[in-house]
């Protein structure tokens, strides 16, 4: 994916304006149509985004009560008795933490290795294209791959086991591991682009002071690209928070967070649960719940989360650009 910081020449736009105003009458009809279409398309997309946010906000305010955030979901046919979505909220947070914790070292190590070492050249190219393939793989395929892996009987201790002894392959660990694959590409790309944008004289200065490559990376380069890493992490989080397919297949999307085994902490990781996305899915007419008020309320919370993450990306990028004049590789 690419950076979305159109380096625009300020005068380009001014020229276009002047030209248009002076000669619109002499334009061909085709050009006038494109002009109209471009304005309509650009404004239309903005209006559409505003409409979605406004509608979800309206429904959210209509149905969201603070109590919903702190009560557990209950099995009930009526929406006034089916409880809140505390468990899905916890599930979202837990899954995000697992996914990022697993993806972070992998992504940073690969980015550093590609940008700073990258030898042998063919292996670097293979690693880069595998990350691109992971980025292009649909989440549902990653989910079903995870199901195949975690249903292996060797990995049974990592997931929820049915009472008959059959391996379900569903647990927070399983879902989190696959979520880390979703979060990996943006984190990798942001970090790599940041490292590649660090001017060479920074490295040379560190080498001149007698630092080794790895010490340069740890003490000079990684602190320098902190903003890029933060952007990558934020993008990764918003991917994980918004993903549904992996949760449905690998987390079981059970009503409550069910733990497995006796060891505290570990039992939670081996257990099943749900997240906001799967809660929305299950409560929509597409799932079994058919409780649209609850779905709207949870979707509103989800949208607020995504909005906040978006703003965080913007904020980090703007702060970073002000201090260094470099982009953070924020993707659209």
């Amino acid at each position: 994916m690419s950076t979305f910081v159109p380096q625009l020449r300020a005068n380009r736009h001014a020229r276009a304006q002047r030209g248009r105003r002076s000669s619109l009458r002499t334009w061909r009809w085709g050009d006038r149509l494109v002009l109209l279409g471009a304005w309509a398309g650009g404004l239309g997309l903005c209006v559409l985004a505003a409409a979605i946010v406004t509608y979800m906000g309206y429904r959210g305010i209509q149905y969201l009560r603070p109590g919903l955030l702190f009560t557990r979901p209950e099995l009930s046919a009526s929406q006034s008795h089916s409880g809140g979505f505390l468990d899905p909220l916890i599930g979202t947070v837990l899954l995000t933490v697992i996914g990022i914790v697993l993806a972070f070292p992998l992504a940073i190590a690969s980015a550093v290795w590609i940008a700073e070492y990258g030898r042998p050249r063919w292996l670097a190219r293979v690693v880069e294209s595998s990350i691109e393939i992971v980025a292009g793989t649909p989440d549902i395929v990653i989910a079903i791959f995870g199901l195949a892996v975690f249903q292996l009987s060797i990995l049974a201790p990592l997931s929820f086991t049915a009472s008959g002894g059959g391996v379900w392959g569903k647990s927070f660990i399983a879902a989190g591991a696959m979520m880390s694959l979703i979060a990996l590409p943006p984190l990798f790309t942001a970090t790599r682009d940041g490292l590649q944008a660090v001017p060479a004289h920074m490295r040379e200065a560190a080498f001149a002071l007698g630092k080794t490559r790895i010490a340069t990376i740890r003490r000079v380069l990684l602190p320098g690209v902190r903003a890029n890493v933060a952007t990558g992490v934020t993008l990764g989080i918003s991917r994980i928070v918004g993903d549904t397919a992996i949760v449905i297949l690998l987390l079981g999307s059970t009503l409550h967070i069910e733990s497995q085994g006796g060891m505290p902490g570990v039992n939670l990781l081996r257990g099943t649960g749900s997240t906001l996305t799967s809660y929305v899915y299950d409560n929509s007419p597409a799932g079994e719940g058919n409780a649209s008020q609850k779905a709207y309320a949870a979707a509103f919370v989800l949208l607020l989360l995504v909005l906040a993450l978006n703003m965080a990306v913007d904020f980090i990028g703007r702060k970073h650009a002000r201090s260094t004049g470099l982009g953070t590789g924020a993707q659209i």
Partner: protein, 327 residues
């Protein structure tokens, strides 16, 4: 031991450790292809490639698989999945041109036309559109658009005319394609506007100096120079559209019915099912070996097309290097 770890690492060891961690990603990809292919193998073994063809009702065939035993006979793998394939191709084929046109126009708007203040608003807003989770799009689709189409757009006479074949309740091709368009457009806007803004301004000035109007200069020079990026954006969007599962399973009617263009307007309201959506919908039945193999065969098909599109994206991006555009 701890003391040794805390000391600064020698360079060569650090390089090897980092390289090993990076190779883990390759291993993941290999494992993914391997696992999915292995699980899909029985279907390919018993059916060859003929399961991609058409014949019979695919929903009934898949439903019958749930009842099969642990060691199913070869006949249990019988499936003709063309309606599902056709649904996938159809939604993508409708959403992609719509989205591409919209993305191209709005990229021109962002790069060339929008006043600076409007542009500062438009860019984050379109970025937001790209990051709205698919389940929210699905929710809006299933709770707002589907009832609207079902109650106000489809007439009663249209419903009764096909009631013996298929129920029209609004969920179907039209809603699915429209929402899919909205989902893939922002991705393309990001790539295309990037490329448009990195075309050297002198090229455009050259065209303007020859006396064409600004819009003609944009279309003939800027957009033309950015063609590889436009194709790359289209490829990426295709990958996204083919793999969209949750939204489509919510709004597309979840019935493996092939919408028929000869039905006229009703064509757009007929339900369908896509490859990715069917994986979500049949995931409950994965315990049955025949069904599992079929579902993994679907997944393998998606994986294969993602792979092919990734190669295609790489190939079309090659000419971009000439302009030193990174996309």
């Amino acid at each position: 031991m701890l003391e040794r770890l805390r000391r600064p690492w020698p360079d060569h060891r650090a390089e090897r450790a980092l390289g090993a961690m990076s190779s883990l990603v390759c291993l993941c990809v290999v494992a993914m292809v391997g696992f999915v292919a292995l699980r899909a193998w029985p279907t390919f073994e018993h059916q060859g490639l003929s399961w991609l063809g058409s014949g019979g009702e695919v929903d009934r065939q898949i439903g019958g698989m749930i009842a099969t035993s642990v060691h199913p006979p070869a006949s249990a793998f019988y499936v003709r999945a063309w309606p599902i394939l056709y649904g996938t191709l159809l939604t993508t084929a409708i959403a992609l041109p719509l989205g591409l046109g919209l993305a191209l126009l709005s990229s021109i708007f962002i790069v060339e036309l929008a006043p600076a203040r409007l542009r500062r608003v438009a860019i984050p807003v379109i970025r937001l559109l790209a990051s709205v989770p698919s389940v929210i799009y699905g929710l809006i689709g299933v709770l707002v658009l589907v009832p609207f189409v079902g109650n106000h757009v489809i007439t009663t006479s249209e419903k009764t005319s096909v009631q013996n074949v298929v129920q029209l309740n609004g969920a179907g091709l039209a809603v699915a394609a429209v929402i899919l368009t909205v989902m893939i457009t922002p991705i393309m806007v990001a790539l295309i506007s990037d490329a448009l803004s990195s075309v050297p301004v002198a090229w455009r000035e050259g065209a303007a100096a020859l006396g064409v109007n600004p819009m003609r200069a944009t279309l003939a020079v800027t957009v033309r120079a950015a063609r590889p990026a436009i194709v790359a954006a289209a490829v990426l969007a295709t990958a996204r559209a083919l793999g969209e599962a949750v939204m489509l399973s919510m709004v597309s009617g979840s019935r493996s019915f092939s919408p028929k263009p000869v039905d006229g307007v009703i064509f757009f309201f007929e339900p369908l099912r896509t490859l990715a959506a069917s994986i979500v919908e049949f995931a409950e039945g994965l315990g049955a070996p025949a069904l599992r193999s079929t579902i993994y065969a679907f997944a393998f098909l998606l994986l294969f097309s993602a792979f092919a599109l990734s190669v295609a994206g790489y190939l079309v991006k090659l000419p971009l290097r000439k302009y030193q555009v990174r996309a």
